[in-house]
């Protein structure tokens, strides 16, 4: 047995643990612990199985302690777990703490300077009712008796306890006996520091998570608002041609087929249904062009002729169209090129008051065919010029109500790009009209002629 000295550094309220793996280590700690206690006129209590007590008895006697006399006068007591921890038939921390309090009070009443306790709780390895509260009890012992007239030494045989239990022991005892000396238990500080660190990290993580959640929520709400706005606009835009079509159909039903009013109603019906179809087409085109699902059937097309045909195809001309176009061939899909011109015309008409003028020019410049549409409408503020081709963005003349989905120009840009070209928007500001310039690669072999679209 290696004898160690616990010195007189122990003070009332200290709660120590000693983890050992040999009997020598155990007795090397416990014997001096009690020898010092007896010397300091403390009431000493050892709680352990009978086998441990017998060993301690022998060891104390070996170092000169008159065990019999100390037992007789009550300065030294040996107790079993059954008589203490397990006295109620189950382990109850509250009962046990009360018992210690009674012993502290009794020691004081009997003139002892303090109560000094040691024990070896091997019984916690048994399936004793309430034993799951052992770690809680150890933690309470540190808290409840801090500064009180009691010193407690808990002995753990490393060979008999699981690492989990030993870790709990290290976390719940402020002091540990290390190689015979009492040391502040670094695990407690580490545990506290770790807990604090964990708590701070948790706070940071929580703050981060909350910030991420808030950003995601705001983005989702914005997207939801945008979707709602789009649905409202789309519904409105689809409703107007459908409402017109419904009334036109009702008129056709009530009027004689030869009545000129029925003829007009049929024309209105056709145009309005076509308008509804174009809306849906635009919406589908955005998705199809974006997903690369649009295939171009390329052929040589005279863009100048196509522009003239498109203007001629306007059924109810509400504006004055000035066309300055010389033959200019591009390789492209006839239907899609017609759609590009149609959308640019629709846009120009929408933003130009009835009776206003719209100028279209087409010409070849070097290797490019340039189509230009100038309207005399409300124009665009500078911030809108750069966004004119974004989906769902639309200009609105002061005092007018917005109309359309804001998809037409977006479709134009995507189709132009599919043809290897590019489109630009120009405006000198509100009230100064807008211009859209489309540049396509000229068809191979096409030679530049007159150049009106400069």
């Amino acid at each position: 047995m290696t004898s160690v000295t616990l010195e007189s550094t122990l003070r009332g309220g200290d709660h120590l643990c000693a983890i050992y793996e040999t009997d020598d280590e155990w007795l090397g700690t416990t014997v001096p612990y009690f020898v010092e206690g007896l010397a300091r006129r403390e009431a000493c209590v050892y709680v352990a199985p009978q086998k441990n007590t017998a060993h301690l008895d022998v060891a104390l006697r070996a170092v000169g302690v008159n065990v019999d006399a100390e037992l007789r006068r009550g300065a030294l007591r040996f107790a079993t777990p059954e008589a203490t921890y397990l006295r109620p038939g189950r382990f109850d921390p509250d009962v046990m703490i009360s018992l210690w309090q009674e012993l502290i009070d009794a020691a004081g009443a009997e003139g002892y300077t303090s109560l000094r306790v040691a024990g070896c709780p091997t019984w916690i390895n048994d399936e004793v009712p309430g034993v799951e509260r052992w770690a809680e009890y150890e933690a309470q012992m540190s808290e409840r008796f801090r500064g009180r007239r009691v010193i407690k030494l808990c002995e753990y045989d490393r060979r008999l306890f699981s690492p989990t239990v030993l870790l709990d022991v290290l976390r719940s005892h402020p002091f540990a006996v290390v190689r015979g000396a009492v040391r502040a238990n670094p695990f407690v500080g580490m545990a506290n520091a770790r807990a604090e660190s964990d708590r701070n990290k948790l706070d940071d993580d929580l703050a981060d998570a909350l910030a991420r959640e808030r950003a995601a929520r705001l983005a989702a709400e914005a997207a939801c608002r945008k979707k709602d706005e789009f649905i409202a606009v789309f519904s409105h835009e689809l409703r107007t041609p459908l409402a017109s079509a419904v009334v036109a159909a009702a008129l056709i039903e009530r009027l004689s087929p030869t009545d000129p009013r029925a003829v007009t109603a049929r024309e209105v019906l056709g145009r309005q249904l076509d308008q509804a179809r174009r809306l849906v087409d635009d919406l589908l085109d955005i998705e199809r062009v974006t997903a690369g699902k649009v295939e171009l059937a390329a052929e040589s097309v005279d863009l100048a002729q196509l522009v003239r045909d498109s203007v001629a195809g306007i059924l109810i001309p509400t504006h004055r169209f000035d066309i300055d176009a010389s033959p200019a061939r591009v390789m492209g899909d006839l239907g899609r090129l017609r759609q590009i011109i149609g959308n640019l015309l629709t846009n120009a008409m929408k933003h130009t008051p009835a009776g206003g003028s719209i100028r279209l020019s087409v010409g070849q410049h070097g290797g490019e065919v340039v189509l230009r549409v100038d309207d005399s409408g409300g124009g665009m503020p500078p911030e809108l010029v750069g966004r004119a081709f974004e989906a769902f963005v639309q200009g609105q003349a002061p005092g007018s109500t917005p109309s359309g989905l804001g998809l037409g120009l977006s479709v134009v840009r995507r189709l132009v790009e599919l043809h290897g070209g590019r489109v630009d928007a120009l405006s000198e500001g509100l009230g100064h009209g807008s211009s859209f310039v489309v540049r396509f690669p000229a068809a191979p072999g096409a030679s530049p002629e007159a150049t009106p679209a400069s």
């Binding site: 409703r239 409402a243 419904v246 009334v247 008129l251 209105v268």
Partner: protein, 266 residues
């Protein structure tokens, strides 16, 4: 959209031709007092007599407004140019089992016409609001009374102004009451402000049908496809015909027009 030709609806109310049966629809009771006072005053100015059949409160209000307009109501009454009768008492005199009785109606109204003529007034303007008293609980009786008035006007060749507190831009009033009332009058004045009413319906048409040329065309088709036998503003004719073509769209236009009319332009 078509331009709105200014319609002299105020003229239709203030200077009705003999035998005309004009109805003014209103929401604001103050407007009614203004309209009736002007109707009476214009009659006095033209040397015509006026017979008013109204509630006690309205009779007092008309007299006050006429006085404010410079008319000596007491003098008019003294010389038999102005007679105001209690609408409730008149109704009681000719209603049998909740319906107006033709003979009793004639017996109640005609003596007053005769009496006025005896004082030297051949042109007599009539204003009656007994129909408005019947409207809320006995609309069919009100319409029957309009028919009796119509017969009397054809016989007597005198003009009559009626007033209903109904709103042509309200869904129920507009779809149910207004067509029935309109059919029984020669002229309909659907709102306090005819120009504003016309503009509100036009704006609503654009909202519902779009702002393109087809909407103008459609509005014209709506207005003309079924000519109304009653003279009324273009906007009112459009609403009545649109109800016939598609009542849901008629409602949609009415609701939006009401917002425009009341200043809540979206």
């Amino acid at each position: 959209m078509s331009t709105i030709a200014p319609t002299p609806w105020e003229q239709a109310v203030e200077n009705p031709a003999p035998g005309e049966h004009v109805v003014q629809m209103y929401r604001d009771p103050d407007l009614l007092v203004d309209v009736v006072a002007r109707y009476c005053q214009q009659g006095f100015v033209k040397g015509e007599a006026v017979i008013v059949i109204a509630t006690h409160e309205h009779r007092a209000a008309f007299a006050r407004r006429l006085t404010a307009l410079g008319t000596d109501v007491a003098a008019c009454t003294r010389r038999g140019q102005y007679i105001d009768l209690d609408a409730h008492e008149c109704l009681e005199a000719f209603m049998i089992d909740g319906a107006p009785d033709r003979d009793r109606f004639v017996a109640v109204v005609t003596p007053h016409l005769t009496s006025v003529r005896r004082t030297g007034y051949d042109r007599i303007r009539l204003y009656g609001e007994m129909v408005e008293l019947l409207r809320p609980t006995a609309f069919a009786a009100a319409m029957r009374l309009e028919e009796l008035w119509h017969e009397l006007l054809e016989r007597e060749r005198q003009p009559l102004l009626c007033a209903y507190r109904v709103d042509p831009l309200d869904r129920l009033d507009g779809r149910v009451l207004v067509p029935a009332i309109a059919r029984r009058h020669s002229h309909v004045v659907p709102a306090d402000d005819a120009a504003r009413f016309e503009n509100a319906v036009e704006c609503a048409f654009v909202d519902v049908f779009g702002a393109d040329a087809d909407t103008t065309m459609l509005r014209q088709l709506c207005e003309r496809y079924r000519p109304q036998s009653t003279t009324m503003p273009s906007a009112q004719a459009v609403l009545l015909n649109l109800d016939d073509l598609n009542p849901y769209l008629g409602d949609a236009v009415r609701v939006i027009a009401a917002e425009h009319y009341r200043g809540g332009v979206r």
